[in-house]
Amino acid sequence: MRSLLLKAPARPWTWKHNGRAACLARSYAVQAPGAPTVEVFDARTKLLHKERAAANTTQSRQVDYLRDEVAVRLCDRILDINRPFPRILDYGANACNIARRLTRPDPDPDSAKPFKEPISKKIGSITCADTSPTLLYRDQDEAWNKEINIQREVLRNPEYLPYEAETFDAVLSSMSLHWINDLPSVLMQINNCLKPDAPFVAAMSGGDSLYELRGSLQLAEQERLGGIGTHTSPLADVRDVGNLLNRAGFKLLTVDVDDIIVDYPNTLALMSDLQAMGESNAALRREPGGISKDVLLSTEAIYRELYGEQQEDGSITIPATFRIIYMIGWKEGEGQQKPLERGSGDVNLKDLFDSDTGSKGN
């Protein structure tokens, strides 16, 4: 037994001298495809949050202000793409907020070339997919449903798109990508189900969203309990989004950031609105049992002191920042514009700027 044990470590040495054997041994090395996925969010909890929030229809509609605003801004970006879309997908549709905004008449009043018809006239059909049936079907009896050819589809798995390759002329997504665990995989699937030279237009909350709440909660917990827990999700940064899209094979990327600041009367109003949106914390490593009353009391005082703003009528409101990242990526296709090769430019940018300021002076 002893001799066997001693022999075992000697084997690599013999292989090292024999190049052929080493080569053979290496060819058996197996690596799992892709990087191992990290589970950050609890998909089941998220589904429960959304279902519960949507069950209270009135309240759920009341807190649609954020999603509606983002949907409007997203629709502005779709307006810039001058082509018809026979078939599009809204992935992570929530209450079909995008579809509703697409039917809005006169979507572009301030532009030099006004576009009077609702964008839905350019759209053949839209498939709205989400995991939560209650939220998805919440507005199905509203009048706007008749103005757009809409199908609703409940997703079994939030991170799996059950569509064939090259199905859609555009994929949209608004305010739901921030709950995806495996963003690279989902983006790749989106790329796969797009037709060649078709755009992916999305908005997600990211970066420093709700930094005021995050900071106040951390200070409050630090002071009251002596440590901090996870109460807000980790979010993607603007830089990450560019990299992710690139990795998923999208071309001609456009990524930009927009801050939406909402004023609330107090932190509890902010928290209950987030809950009514179905955006409660669903991190896997969250603390069970929620936040204690002491910490809530402390958070309220800290938030008010650090960020509170005096309004004209003397009351103090607290601002909450939602940082929305907008992204547009195109699937590679024939005849698509490509960036020129590095160093191939023959116009000096300095000259361009000089002539620009010169013309302004005239």
Partner: protein
């Protein structure tokens, strides 16, 4: 559910009555926020909590 006040609304109402105490506590934290540790402003917090308990109509 008409007529039913959610606990969080009651909580918000009671805390709104304690804004002076809250401001004192908030200022204490804001002055030391880079060095926050447990019970840094315990005295100010207890004042705030006493006020809250009174406003919420609880005994003790």
């Amino acid at each position: 559910m008409p007529g039913r006040t959610r606990p969080i609304e009651k909580f918000a109402e009671a805390t709104a009555k304690c804004s002076p105490e809250g401001a004192v506590y908030g200022k204490c934290i804001a002055a030391n926020y880079q060095n926050a540790k447990k019970d840094l402003c315990a005295k100010e917090f207890m004042a705030l909590k006493d006020c809250y308990l009174k406003a919420a109509g609880r005994k003790s």
